[in-house]
Amino acid sequence: MAAVFRALFGYCFLVLMVRVVGRRPGKQMAPFDFVLIFFIGGLTLTAMVADDRSLTNAIVQIVTIATGHFILTLLRRKSKKFALFLDGTPLVLLSKSKWYSETLGNMNFSTDDVMAAIRGKGLVNPEGASWAVLERSGSINVIEADDSK
């Protein structure tokens, strides 16, 4: 029973931590961001496993986390408020030659991060992008300005 609660607590705690620490997965991840993921994951693991290194414990905890994840996904689909809490909202970072500095600052993003996404789209300067949007997944989507095509 303790294994289930430990796994559930570890999972919920990690979801909250990753949510609070920020949205920088995938493409926007700098090498030092990886350290965070591995370190938090590794430290949580020691507390979750405790002194029980049995296969039974591993299976019970994996099943617990899988079930917890399924429930979160279900709640996310059923409730818009919960989805907002879990994933946040898409955020505009750049619009027609205007940087959204409040959003960039509070999300700890620099204009360089957005420029990397703009270059990834094959554009050479921010004027070529009509919009840059930080998606809920953490990726930055760039929409080209009509006159840049």
């Binding site: 609070v20 405790a50 002194d51 907002l84 946040g88 909202t89 898409p90 955020l91 505009v92 619009s95 959003t103 509070n106 919009w131 949007v133 929409i143």
Partner: protein, 180 residues
């Protein structure tokens, strides 16, 4: 032949920005979240400060001392311990603790079970079950400067423990908070 997949028409329900980009940005929610994040970071800072101070164990505020009125037992221990993490209860015994050619020390059952005593240094010559605890005996020829109980708490919570010199009647009762 299988029936076709169910479909429904696409509805234009996602709020647009500048009447152009259907993004559904909820900036008011995001501002509330940023305020929440600020509170969380303040909490993290407080947690770190408390941990460095020793409130969660293994720090200056965790170290505790206690001694009997006549000074026969002087005990040092950690008032904040952690689940299944080694900690030490040290008893410094004065020469007055020697009676009838030996030292006898009674410890409550809580040191053995919930606080998870692993070993005693130096090892006593005898140990016997006594009422609600265990009675240890050392020969006086090797009167130890200190007796250390190496503990590893097996349950989280608040645990009280007592040590006593039964022949002198001196005793100490203290409390350890065990974090999960």
């Amino acid at each position: 032949m299988s029936s076709p997949a169910r479909t429904r028409p696409v509805e234009d329900t996602i709020p647009k920005i500048e009447n152009e980009l259907a993004i559904g940005e909820d900036l008011e929610f995001q501002r509330r979240w940023w305020r929440f994040e600020h509170v969380v970071w303040i909490c993290f800072t407080i947690i770190l400060a408390l941990d460095i101070a020793g409130v969660f164990g293994r720090g200056p505020l965790s170290k505790a001392h206690a001694k009997t009125s006549d000074g026969a037992i002087h005990m040092t221990y950690e008032r904040f311990a952690r689940f299944q993490t080694p900690s030490l209860i040290s008893l410094h015994l004065s020469p007055a603790a020697v009676r009838n050619g030996h030292i006898q020390l009674w410890v409550s059952q809580s040191i053995i079970k919930p606080l998870g005593n692993q070993r005693i240094i130096p090892q006593p010559a005898t140990s016997e079950l006594a009422q609600d605890g265990v009675l240890y005996t050392w020969p006086s020829g090797v009167r130890p400067d200190s007796v250390d109980f190496a503990i590893e708490p097996s349950t989280a919570g608040v645990e009280h423990f007592t040590v006593r010199l039964p022949e002198l009647g001196d005793q100490l009762t203290e409390r350890v908070i065990v974090y999960p």
